[in-house]
Symmetry: C2
Subunit: 177 residues, 2 copies
DNA sequence: ACAGATGTAAAACGATCGTTTTACATCTGT
DNA sequence: ACAGATGTAAAACGATCGTTTTACATCTGT
């Protein structure tokens, strides 16, 4: 594993487990097993590191939700939650910790959420046809169900995705009928 | 307004707007217009202040969701979001910023979420009858829809509650039918 | 009237923060 | 072969952190 990958991997874990602001550059350099000089050469500064971690996670996440049906989408997200843990959406956490006031981070978060929304819209379009009148509403509802599962899973466990999945199926069935 | 109230009010605003860790005790004393000695006498330490803010918000929140129908619940939450802003759930944000590793805060957050869940369950019980077989599932689905709206509203605005409301109504109608 | 509670302003505490610098070693491509 | 890139270890930067202390003033209930 090259140094950049090692840095991003260990940083993502620390940020996710302890929070962004609560994780010090010292902890980050130790976890990445590199000198602070090297870390700064790769990441620029702490906000740059946060942004790089989020961009890498965005890449991985979009890969995971690159499926063809809403059923597969919920399955993929539930198993992701089961293996990676349920600590909430890392993007919204970064946004919240910085009050949305760090432009590079806010921008990365918003771009991620736009891509997330677009992916759901795309799946629904192939599932219901491009001119289903409920497309927009259903897209936002599925989005909300996923955001909600991600949040609720923090205190109710990854099974929250199952309840959300059933809700999504019911809403879609009703739209098709 | 007495000092404790002033402290909790201004602290809640700062925490919500800029994040918990990103808000310094110096900013908090200035916003509360009191000396740090007085702040510490009232709050103990920073974690104590965070906990006190959350407990006060819990009180206010439970008051707001003290309604008799799911319709009223969504109406109340949407207008709360419209007036107070959409920065996500302050409880989950506090939990996330501390990695769930600050016991006093984690405990306060979990107690709040349990009360929140119980309130939804109570409303649904009066709406569907105590022995409706879908009570548990529906309760978690409504919970997820609300958590999801709260999160999604950060980047899609408070109208997210409308989409969630419609989803909730559809799920309930289907359960009654 | 006066003791105890409650407050202020300001300095100081040691610790830690993010970041840079210094001095040096080792890889790597031509 | 050797220049430039890439790395380490450790000290140091000034700034800021949460918290406590000092010295003093004013309110409040008996």
């Amino acid at each position: 594993m090259n140094m950049k990958t090692k840095l991003l991997t260990s940083a993502e874990q620390l940020f996710d487990q302890h929070g962004f602001m609560a994780t010090s550059m010292d902890q980050l350099t130790k976890a990445a097993e590199m000198s602070s000089r090297t870390l700064y050469k790769h990441a620029g500064d702490k906000n740059g590191l946060i942004q790089a971690v989020l961009m890498e996670r965005d890449r991985r996440f979009l890969q995971i939700i690159d499926v063809k049906s809403i059923d597969d989408l919920f399955e993929a997200l539930q198993s992701w939650a089961e293996t990676e843990g349920t600590r909430g959406c890392l993007f919204l956490r970064a946004y919240g910790e910085t009050g949305g006031e760090t432009p590079e981070i806010a921008k990365t978060v918003m771009a991620h959420k736009a891509a997330f929304h677009a992916q759901i819209a795309g799946i629904l379009k192939t599932e219901l046809g491009a001119n289903d009148p409920n497309l927009e509403l259903l897209t936002e509802q599925i989005l909300i169900l996923i955001e909600g599962s991600t949040a609720a899973a923090i205190y109710r466990g990854a099974e929250a995705f199952k309840s959300a999945h059933k809700a999504a199926s019911a809403l879609i069935a009703q739209a098709i009928k």
